[in-house]
């Protein structure tokens, strides 16, 4: 008993002062990439050639674009064309619609808009999510799960993972959705009572990630169920996920 109290005292208070203060991110953190405005179209071509997933598209004719939803944040494009692409430390990446994940030179996509008022009234102060891993590698799952530990403590915003879809207000889906998980994902979705929300976390759940266009997968959750919020990354930083959830609930402006 005393040793438990002593250890509790030793471990101290560890919850980060977020969102009151900006999160501490590593120096080398690769957040939202930026395509240099005014760079000649040809400058982007090697970046597109280096991209493993097809997130980066550029050709002599078409204007360059980077789809954050497909991006692994691997930095290969920036290494190929340092003058045309660079990575900022911006961690706020979530979007309500796939078109808001498209970056072009000089553009800054809007931050995710909050859910409709009717949903916010229901879930704004209490959101229970069932996590479904559908082909995820464990990294997106870990960075979602970690939101429950004292550092992030998403419970203080009323957000919690629950075991049963029947107790949930929505799903948080990770992974490219293999054919072998399609039915299970669909059934889990059907088991969640209405109204419900779906959040796709990570490059795989948004567009298949490194497994994009494999015949074994469905290129993400949206092929099977409707998605309300997209959170890019491979995996997204826990703060990117938390930011997305809080924006969706209208808890941060």
């Amino acid at each position: 008993m005393w040793s438990i109290i002593k250890a509790r005292w030793r471990q101290g208070y560890r919850t980060a002062p977020y969102p009151a203060r900006p999160p501490a991110l590593p120096d080398r953190f690769r957040g939202r990439p930026e395509l240099t405005a005014g760079a000649p179209a040809a400058a982007f071509v090697p970046a597109a050639a280096a991209c493993p997933t097809g997130a980066f598209t550029a050709s002599a004719g078409a204007p360059p674009a980077l789809d954050l939803g497909l991006c692994l944040f691997c930095g290969a494009c920036a290494a190929a064309c340092p003058a045309a692409v660079n990575f900022t430390s911006e961690h706020r990446l979530a979007a309500r619609h796939p078109e808001n994940l498209r970056l072009t030179p000089g553009c800054k996509p809007p931050r995710a808009a909050p859910a409709e008022n009717s949903l916010r009234r229901l879930f704004g102060r209490s959101l229970r999510l069932r996590q479904v891993c559908a082909g995820g590698c464990g990294a997106c799952e870990a960075d979602s799960n970690v939101l429950g530990v004292p550092t992030f403590d998403m419970g203080r915003f009323g957000i919690q993972f629950v075991a049963s879809p029947r107790h949930a207000d929505g799903l948080l889906v990770t992974g490219p959705v293999p054919e072998n998980m399609r039915l299970a994902l669909r059934k889990t979705y059907d088991a969640v009572p209405e109204p419900k929300v779906v959040i796709a976390v990570g490059a795989c759940a948004i567009g298949g990630g490194p497994y994009r266009d494999h015949p074994e997968v469905h290129n993400g959750a949206a092929a099977v169920i409707p998605v309300d919020l997209f959170i890019p990354g491979c995996p997204p930083h826990p703060y990117t996920i938390l930011d997305g959830l809080l924006r969706f609930l209208g808890r941060i402006p």
């Binding site: 040793s3 438990i4 250890a7 509790r8 471990q11 560890r14 590593p26 120096d27 080398r28 953190f29 690769r30 280096a50 991209c51 493993p52 997933t53 692994l72 944040f73 691997c74 930095g75 290969a76 479904v132 891993c133 559908a134 082909g135 995820g136 590698c137 464990g138 990294a139 997106c140 799952e141 870990a142 960075d143 979602s144 799960n145 970690v146 429950g148 530990v149 004292p150 550092t151 993972f161 075991a163 049963s164 490219p176 293999p178 054919e179 072998n180 998980m181 039915l183 299970a184 795989c204 990630g209 490194p210 497994y211 494999h214 015949p215 074994e216 997968v217 491979c234 995996p235 826990p238």
Partner: protein
């Protein structure tokens, strides 16, 4: 052993020197090596062969000699299964049957392993429906069956478990996996290409460093590329940080499963602290981008060495206090002791690796038995415990945490100068070779085997995650246990579904 070609860990063999035995001799040679010389089956797989239909290739690990032994035989439609005499082959042979339609005759339980489409057939056609295959059942009065999954009650990967119970007691557990199958090995054929390293980093995301290291060593072996000393040291640091993060997380999860919340909450947080140390190195908490063929993708700054050392000391103190609490708690100990016990004998027969094997008293550790990279110069003691139960698997983790902390501290304090990477020239893998690399990931032995074609591209790439061996161990550990102890037994193994399903 003329039946085998021998190669060191990370060695290369010209395909012309790969022994091609007759099926009978192949079977007898592999069985004899396993039963008489204590060899382990690190990999057994089929690969399309130009001359014959398929080549069956066995890669054996000779722990006491620190060498790999490779042999092969040509098979057409069937061959006599190894499994009846060598249980460690069971998963491999199910895979061979499922992928290539080759029947291992006499296999006692030949059902699909991953419910994946057979190779060489359009993916949509002839695909088996996931999970639909007969389960092993027990009949009798009051025998009942419990089915769990694929979607489980927690933030974990999907898989199906089928228990045969009498009352509370589990008589048999069958794992039915494959829900995570994404076609990784199929997609590796024809590589390497821009995606290859990303498959390696995500095929089991919590083992990013382990698999990326194995793959890089395959490329270095085939490309005759040497990693600079600083790169080797940094890879070692990254690998032990990966072990630390996962072991600490596992101890927290075990505490959570027996309702001991203080350690659960502290270890959950400390795990994140360790992931953040990896992020200092490369910007990503899981080490994405850190290991690349030829060395490391990024160097460490002098100021960051200091920061890492400081934070590591904090991790050490926090972990010691959290873990001590767990092991001193009589209620936690009561749940861990004598639960999910495996004997060393069973462990040896099933070919278990890593923490699960060391917790049965088997001193198996690739870092010592087949030293590679930095582990050729800096040894870590092998940590074992005899009891084979949940406690042993927890305690081995705790011992390894302490060893890894010392190792990382020592390496960071004495990092060699120089470059971290000697980038390989593009398209320089030696043609018509077989390369094999073993790495000690945090779960245990990771085995990669690559075979290159005439133009130096992968004709075949075999991935064996430690989970592939160890899932069967979990099934055995559950025999005679109360079904309510399944969560802690499962957690004490903490196996990867995606690493198994690929």
């Amino acid at each position: 052993m003329t039946e085998f070609a021998r190669l060191p860990n990370g060695g290369v063999l010209p395909l012309a020197q790969l022994p091609r035995l007759g099926a009978d001799r192949f079977r007898a040679a592999v069985l004899e090596a396993v039963s008489k010389s204590g060899a382990r089956l690190s990999a057994l797989f089929a690969c399309p062969d130009a001359a014959q239909a398929h080549l069956l290739i066995a890669v054996l690990a000779l722990d006491d000699q620190g060498m790999l032994a490779v042999t092969s035989c040509a098979v057409e439609h069937e061959y006599a299964a190894l499994t009846p005499d060598c249980p460690q082959a069971q998963g491999f042979e199910r895979e061979i049957a499922e992928l290539w339609g080759i029947r291992p005759l006499g296999h006692p339980w030949l059902k699909p392993l991953r419910f994946q489409p057979p190779r060489g057939v359009p993916a949509a056609a002839a695909r088996p429906a996931i999970g639909l295959a007969p389960f092993f059942t027990i009949t009798g009065e009051e025998i009942h069956e419990v089915a769990v999954g694929p979607v489980h009650a927690g933030v974990i990967e999907p898989g199906h478990f089928r228990f045969q119970c009498h009352g509370e007691t589990v008589y048999h557990l069958e794992n039915s996996l494959g829900y995570q199958h994404r076609g990784v090995e199929r997609a590796l054929v024809g590589g390497p290409d821009a995606r290859t390293i990303h498959y390696m980093e995500t095929l089991a995301g919590d083992t990013t460093i382990g698999h990326a290291t194995s793959y890089s060593r395959i490329c270095e072996a085939l490309g005759r590329n040497r990693v600079p000393a600083r790169g080797q040291a940094l890879r070692g640091v990254a690998q032990e940080l990966e072990r630390l993060a996962n072991h600490i997380g596992d101890l927290g999860a075990l505490a959570g499963d027996v309702g001991f919340l203080p350690t659960m909450s502290y270890c959950g947080r400390i795990r994140g602290d360790v992931l953040n140390l990896t992020a200092i190195l490369c910007g990503n908490r899981f080490g994405r981008g850190l290991v690349r063929p030829g060395g490391c993708g990024c160097d460490i700054k002098a100021a960051d060495v200091e920061r890492l050392l400081d934070r590591l000391e904090q991790v050490r103190r926090d972990t010691a206090s959290a873990v001590q609490l767990l092991f001193e708690s009589p209620t936690a100990r009561a749940r861990f002791d004598d639960t999910g016990t495996l004997s060393a004998e069973t462990c040896r027969e099933l070919g278990l690796v890593g923490v699960a094997a060391r917790a049965c008293g088997l001193a198996r550790d690739v870092r010592r038995d087949f030293p590679y990279g930095i582990f050729q110069f800096a040894q870590l003691p092998v940590c074992t415990w005899e009891s084979g139960d949940v406690f042993a698997r927890a305690y081995v983790r705790w011992m390894e945490i302490q060893q890894s902390l010392i190792f990382v501290r020592e390496q960071l304090a004495a990092l060699p100068e120089g470059d971290v990477r000697r980038a390989p020239a593009a398209g320089t893998l030696a043609p018509e070779r077989l390369a094999a690399a073993l790495t000690e990931g945090w779960r245990g032995e990771i085995c990669h085997v690559a075979i290159t074609d005439a133009s130096g591209r992968f004709a075949c790439y075999k991935l064996v995650d430690p989970s592939f061996h160890n899932w069967f161990g979990l099934a055995f550990a559950m025999r005679g246990q109360q079904i309510s102890d399944f969560p802690i037994c499962n957690k004490s193994f903490n196996l990867s579904y995606c690493g198994h399903d690929l």
